[in-house]
Amino acid sequence: MMSAADGDKAFKVFAILVLSVITIGAFVPFLLIVVASFTEESAIVEHGYRFVTDRLSLDAYAFMLSQFGVISRAYAVSIGVTVVGTALSLLITTMLAYPMSRPGFKYRNVIAFLVFFSLLFSGGVVPSYIMWTRVFHLRDSYLALVIPTYLMSGFNALLVRNYYKNSVPSALIESAQIDGASELRIFFRIMIPLSTPVNVTIGLFTGIAYWNDWINALYYISKPQMFGIQNLLMRMMTNLQFLTSGQAAGMVGAGAVDLPTNAVRMSMAVIGILPILIGFPFLQKYLTKGVVVGAVKG
C-alpha cells in the first residue's frame, strides 16, 4: 500500500498534469489565430486554419501595413477612448468614493444608497438608447464611445470607498485637518497618492472594458471611420462574408482575389489583442487582487 506521503506526491503530479492540460486548452485557441495569421494564404485555402504550417508568410501583415491608414485610425480611436475614458472614470469614481468614506459627512448614506441601488436595478437598454440618442444626441459622436455605461461603475466606487475607509489611517486625515487642510486638499494630496493599489486595480478593469467595448459603437456609431479596433474587426468579418458569399462576385475585381483575406482576418484579431497580451504579464498581479477584493464585499 502507498503511504500518505506517496499519495500526496502522486496527487501533486496529477494536479500538475491536469492543470497543464487545462492551461494548454485555455491557450491553444489563441495559437490557432496566431499561426493562421502567419500562414500563406494558399495553405489556408487548401487546408483551412491549422496549428502548424510549413508555409509561413508575412503577407497578411504586409497587407495590413498597406492599409495602415484605416488600421492606425481605428487603433487611435481605441487608444483615445481607453485613455480618456479610464482617466475620467478614475477621477469621478474616486471623487464620489471619498465623500462616502467620510464618517462625518451628512449625505454619505444617501449617496451610498444611490450608488448601491444602481447596481441592483437597471432600466435596461431601450430607455438608455432613447435618452442618449434623442436627448443628448450622442449618435455619431466620439462621446458615445466614452460616456454611456462605462464611465463610472458603482461597484468600483464602493470598492474605492472601502479602501479609503479601511486602508488609509484616519489619523492622517485628522492631523491634516488640524493643520488646516481643506477637504479638497486632503482628497487630492493624501487620499489619491495613498491609494495607488486600488486605483491601479479599478483603472485596469475600466481600461480593459473600454478597450474591449464594441457595444456602444454598435448602438451609437454608424460611420465606419469612427470605429475603434473592435468594431473594425466586426465590420471586417461581415464584409469578408459578403465578399465570399457570391452575392458580390461581380463586384470583386481581379486584384481582390490576390488579397490574403483568410490570413488577414486572423492577423487583425491578433492586432486587436496585442495590447492585452503585452500588458498582461505586468498587470496579472493587480487583476487577481482586484477579483478577490471585489468578491469579499462590494
Partner: protein, 304 residues
C-alpha cells in the same frame, strides 16, 4: 472623532461627489424612469410623456409571440448550465491550483487560465470562426476530414450551438472565476489540514473532508448571486459568437439579443421595451430573493 465631525466640510464634499452623482442620475436613474415607454404607444412627435398610454398591450403582444418563450427558455437554460458547470470547473481548477500555488510555474498557468477572460467577444468570435468556418475552419478541414466525415455547416445548424456556446463560456470564464475559490482555499485554517495529516489522511481525503465542505459558503453565495442574474445574458456571447446568424436564433436568442434586434433591426419600440422591462423587473425580484436567501444562510455575506 468629534473634531473630524465638526471639521467635515459638507459643501466641498458635495462638490466632489457631484460629477459622479450627475453621471449616476443620467446613466442609471433617468433610464429607470424611462421604463414607462413600455406602457406607452410612443410617438416621438408628441414626446414620450404626452404619448398615449398603452397599458399592458406591449406585454400582451410580446407574450403572444413564440419569440417570448424561446428567449426566456434559452436565457434560463443557458444560465443554469453555466452556473452548474462553471462552478464545478472553477472549483476543480482552484483545488488543483492550490496544490501548486507556491511553484513558480503556477503564475504562468494562472496567466494562461485568465487570458480568455480579458479579450473581447469580437476576438472570441474570430477564434470561434477559425474553428467553425465551413470551408476554412479547423474542425471541418482538419478534424472531420481526418476522420473521413462530411463537413458541417456550423453557422446554420442550430443543434450544435448549445454545446458550442457552453464550451466558449466555460473556456472564457472558468479560469477567472476560480480565483475567488483559490482565495477562499488559501484563507482556510491550516490547523485542520495539520490535524488531518497527523491522522494519516491523504490529499484526496483532505479535499473531500476539509476543503470542499469549507468552500460551501463561498459556493452558496456565488451561486445565489448568479441566480440573481439568471434573466440576464452576455450579449456578446449570444450575438457576436454565432455571427448574428438568423438560422441559429432558435438556439442563440436570449432576452438581451431579442431586445437589441427588436430595437435596432426591427425598430419595434413596444416589443423591445416590454422585453427589457420584463427582464429588469424579474431580475430585480430575483436579486432581492437571492439576497434574502443569502442573509438567511450567512448574514455576513448578504449584500444588504
Amino acid at each position: 472623532m468629534t473634531l473630524a465631525k465638526k471639521r467635515t466640510g459638507t459643501g466641498p464634499l458635495l462638490l466632489l461627489a457631484l460629477p459622479g452623482l450627475a453621471y449616476l442620475l443620467i446613466n442609471n436613474y433617468i433610464p429607470m424612469l424611462g421604463m414607462v415607454i413600455a406602457f406607452k404607444n410612443v410617438d416621438f412627435a408628441k414626446g414620450i410623456l404626452k404619448s398615449p398610454w398603452a397599458g399592458l398591450k406591449n406585454f400582451e403582444f410580446l407574450f403572444k409571440t413564440n419569440d417570448a418563450f424561446i428567449m426566456i427558455r434559452n436565457t434560463l437554460l443557458y444560465n443554469i448550465v453555466f452556473i452548474v458547470l462553471g462552478t464545478v470547473c472553477a472549483i476543480f481548477i482552484a483545488v488543483l491550483m492550490h496544490e501548486v500555488a507556491k511553484r513558480s510555474y503556477s503564475k504562468v498557468m494562472q496567466a494562461g487560465l485568465i487570458l480568455p477572460n480579458l479579450i473581447s467577444m469580437v476576438v472570441v468570435s474570430y477564434i470561434a470562426y477559425a474553428f467553425l468556418s465551413a470551408d476554412r475552419g479547423f474542425l471541418n478541414e482538419t478534424i472531420l476530414k481526418g476522420l473521413g466525415k462530411e463537413s458541417v455547416n456550423w453557422y446554420s445548424e442550430s443543434k450544435y450551438w448549445p454545446f458550442i456556446l457552453v464550451i466558449v463560456q466555460i473556456w472564457k470564464t472558468a479560469g477567472y472565476s476560480s480565483i475567488i475559490y483559490m482565495a477562499a482555499i488559501a484563507g482556510m485554517d491550516q490547523a485542520l489540514y495539520e490535524a488531518a495529516r497527523m491522522d494519516g489522511a491523504g490529499k484526496l481525503k483532505q479535499i473531500f473532508s476539509i476543503t470542499l465542505p469549507q468552500l460551501k459558503p463561498t459556493v452558496g453565495i456565488m451561486v445565489l448571486f448568479a441566480i440573481g442574474r439568471i434573466f440576464s445574458s452576455d450579449f456578446g456571447l449570444f450575438y457576436q459568437v454565432p455571427m448574428n446568424s438568423g438560422a441559429l436564433y432558435g438556439a442563440t436568442q436570449t432576452i438581451d439579443t431579442y431586445v437589441y434586434r427588436a430595437l435596432m433591426q426591427l425598430g419595434d419600440l413596444g416589443m423591445s421595451s416590454a422585453a427589457g422591462v420584463f427582464q429588469s423587473i424579474v431580475g430585480f425580484a430575483l436579486v432581492l430573493g437571492a439576497n434574502y436567501l443569502v442573509r438567511r444562510v450567512d448574514p455576513d455575506s448578504a449584500l444588504f
